[in-house]
Amino acid sequence: MPWRIAEGGTLTVPAPGISFRPGELETHPDGTGNLLGSRCRACGAHFFPIREACAGCLSDDLETVRFSTRGVLYTFSIVRQSVPAFEVPYALGYVDFPEKVRIMGQISGCDFDDIKIGMDMELVLEPFGTDDEGNELTGYRFRPVEADND
């Protein structure tokens, strides 16, 4: 099994895992990862996911960058009806990152009732389904930073 259980047994991290979407999520051998996007070298704007040209200035001089792993929860919902690929209920949120990108992800590591707009969130890698050949995949979720201290 490619998974190991972190201290305390609450967080399962892949070590290393196959990214569920390699163009958007980079996984590292130590079980951490980064969301990937584009930075415009001409005007400094950032985009998620990777783009071919900057929507701000139309420059095509973009570089691929790793985004910060901490941001602030802009809003969220508890999804109770979804497609079969996702077991309900799950928390879904938008996190604003310092690079001025807003990225959607599921929220884990806390009770639904404890989720609040404006919370500090961090990116965590977690098992995220399997590919067509049955290999387990690694995806990302957001977790309240406070959860570290619980």
Binding site: P49, R80, M104
Partner: protein, 380 residues
Amino acid sequence: MTDVHVVGVGMTRFGKHPDSDAADLGAEALHGAVADAGIDPRLIEAAYCGHVFQGMVTGQRILAQVGLAGLPLANVENACSSGATAIREASLAIRAGENDVVIAIGTEHLTSKFSGALTPDPSDPEAAVGATMPGVYAMRARRYMEEFGMTREQLALIPVKNKRNAAQNPLAHFRKEITVEDVLASRPIADPLRLHDCSPVTDGAAAVIVMSDKAAKKYANGRGIRLAASTLRTGSVDVEPTSMTYEPLTWKTAKEAYEKAGIGPEDVDFAEVHDCFSIAEVLRVEGLGLFEQGQYPWAVERGEADINGRLPINPSGGLIGKGHPLGGTGVAQVVELVRQLRGEAGSRQIEGARIGVAHCRGGKAVGIEGAACTVQILVR
């Protein structure tokens, strides 16, 4: 350049139609529009058909069924704005002088294609992490409540209003009035939204016939309603995160339409807006400039958006009450506008209505505000 006149309108009953398909429904709507226009169907020179999930050449299947195959026809997909985009295409063909009589059809047999929560295309990065359309609107609702203090009960007044209107619409999917308590007791879909906050999975079709000045004069005897503007835009790529409680895309699309029609939002008498979810109606009417940002829930509470209110919103019942057959929706909105402006809306008639607005907004793709937005202005 010629004006565009909506001369004939038709629609099926919206609801579940287990014994027919998208082409059957489209054909019924077409027959209705032709009969309403009172014209020989052979006068129709071109056709546009909006649908989302009905497969290749759905429009051609409709025309074949009614014996009109042979016309130039284009199928149009623009998510929930597909039908409205078909009307826009039809109007452009008239304005360009290419045609004098064009039909726009919108159809969807949604119950056979799909159930449960609609999601963005599976290739989309947000779909890959579990985005659903109710989930996205629920997040916008949560944020709106946080920013403006809207209560859950206030939000419930929108499905209550729209289903009250739908109860007066013989073609609506839902004909039963509901209460705030019913909304709050319905099944949670994506917190804070519940089942009654969501538009249903609906089968249905609608069709409108548009004509040039010349054709309208010859065939419509002044019964035409002028399509003063029909605008379409795609959301911009966000260069930085923007408010999810306001809709620049809706405003930009509306502003262009107001300018083309030579009016302002203050001149609008009523509107059919894309209330795919209760919160969506709030965001639409504020984006259209019809109500101040952050104010609509209180205006609804005061009855301003009722059929007999200051500015009726979704007199047909909207998507929540009348139903939401994706491709059919935008065309059905224009059907309602025409019936209201002709004074043929029966027990849901708005007194003295002269200017109506229809707004659609559909689709979701990562990093853009919205995929396709349309605004149509009809003037009596």
